[in-house]
Symmetry: C2
């Protein structure tokens, strides 16, 4: 029996312009590393956290809470020790809590011989996410666990759809080092929205799903529009319009807010364009006193992966 | 040069539960027949209307208005005489005005040697539709002209997406003989809708597009939900809930209001189920004093077709 496993749990982009609360995709290159080890004593024990200052108590740590949700269901005759090597900054808007919450349950599931499917793992990870965002969401968790693009069709019952990823699609991310709380970012959204805007939004969601199925990059571009959320949330991100305009001018198919921000994502056809977009984004923030990090990544169709066992 | 053409312009179902104002599909077996003949004198001349009492003046008839919109653009050195054999009852909710508006421009385009593409024909037909519904819509026009399932991605610029149709998909329609005016039916809808409902709706739109691409009938079924419009408009259709429940109980994948009603549509896998659904619908209205007509139809992937030339 396998005793220990090390996994890479990638960052993710939720919402994807038109798909507020339902769409997401998976990044590569940036993510948390998690080591999980079987121990005799039942329970979840977080023994190491590197990178950021986060709670060690299992019931206060997103990776611990999701792991506890899994254990409650599996009730194995052992416990698990977790080491978290955190590379995704909490609050960055690219699924930091989600990566940890998903990573721990993915790893434990492997050590238990895979009793749970990906949808069940998504459910457990959502319990960890809830600790961070005060509400149940799967739009970051699902793309991490399934890989590629995912659509959260419904939460109750939980149903995740795997949408095909065109082969030459790359993401560029810029993370301006400012703080936006997910809870605040949600609170600023209206509870009611104009019917005419909603119609535009669901036309774009349908269109984006069709474009991903047909690898139609131009249609992806025309579908990456957000008439509902961006007008509100973009105000929280300094120089958002400049970053967006410069990204589009540099050839990006589209550009939007990653999750609830402050990270901004762009999608491009081909890595060369994605790199040009990164340069354009960097140019905007270089002229400000805001620190930033950028990532260029192929869409990660695999999702969480095993580094060694 | 071809002088005369006879075409069949099918009925269509708009909205398709979750896709209010953007989705539609094309029926077979029920539709208008239109004969168009080249004449020397410039202009549009409606020489015959059979079936229903509709205006002969070209600028007051939907087929005439759409034809005039085409002529304005094409400016040919001739005119056209139109005979309309109307089989779709006006106000039935299965695209009666749309079928006539689309049919005339499709036929004239053939006689002119196809100078216009399907999107351009949709635009002309929309001008006729506007006369009937007082607002610009393509959700009935597009499936008639393109066939199969269509998504109206945007009106300005006009962009129509052709969504794949699973091979074994059948529609059942019941048209209760009551009158609902499209304009009234639109006026009763709220101008603002809850964000949470809108999110459910666009998850279902995305999910339905994915399901059509993957011929996943069960997912089609789970996606055919309308949390926005049905709660309002279903009140205008007597026995709507009974028809819907009996359709689902008889095996329909889903059931909803066709366009703005009063027709109700159901989708089923296989013609046998579609026929059972028709029987179930008939049972409901047979016990009332409301007259009705029913149709069972394969999804028509061809759209408008030429009967002879």
């Amino acid at each position: 029996m396998m005793k220990e496993i090390k996994i890479f749990s990638p960052a993710t982009v939720a919402n994807v312009s038109c798909g507020f609360d339902v769409l997401g995709f998976c990044l590569d290159g940036i993510g948390d590393e998690i080591i999980v080890r079987k121990v005799d004593k039942k329970g979840i024990y977080i023994s190491k956290i590197e990178g950021y200052d986060l709670p060690f108590e299992a019931d206060k740590n997103v990776a611990g809470v999701s792991a506890l949700a899994l254990l409650k269901e599996a009730n194995p005759d052992c416990g698990f020790e977790i080491e978290i090597y955190k590379h995704i900054k909490p609050g960055s808007g690219i699924g930091s809590s989600s990566a940890s919450a998903s990573g721990s349950v993915f790893a434990i599931n492997e050590l238990l011989g895979k009793p749970f499917n990906k949808t069940q793992l998504t459910y457990f990870a959502m319990q960890g996410e809830k600790l961070a965002s005060q509400s149940e969401h799967a739009d970051n968790v699902a793309p991490g666990i399934f890989g590629g693009f995912t659509l959260v069709k419904s939460l109750q019952p939980l149903e995740i759809l795997e949408i095909p990823t065109p082969n030459d699609l790359y993401a560029t991310i810029i993370h301006p080092q400012i703080e936006i709380k997910t809870s605040e970012s949600r609170a600023m959204l209206p509870k009611e929205i104009p019917m005419q805007d909603a119609i535009k939004q669901w036309a774009n969601v349908g269109s984006l799903i069709h474009a991903l199925h047909t690898s139609n990059y131009e249609l992806i571009s025309r579908s990456l529009q957000d008439v509902i959320v961006e007008p509100y949330r973009s105000k929280l991100i300094p120089f958002y319009n400049e970053v967006k305009n410069q990204s589009i001018n540099s050839g990006a198919l589209g550009c939007g807010i990653s999750g609830s921000g402050p990270s901004v994502f762009a999608l491009s056809k081909g890595i060369e364009t994605a790199k040009k977009v990164a340069s354009a984004m960097i140019n905007v923030y270089s002229e400000t006193n805001i620190g930033f990090e950028t990532y260029v990544s192929k869409i990660n169709v695999e999702g969480i992966r095993i580094l060694n066992r």
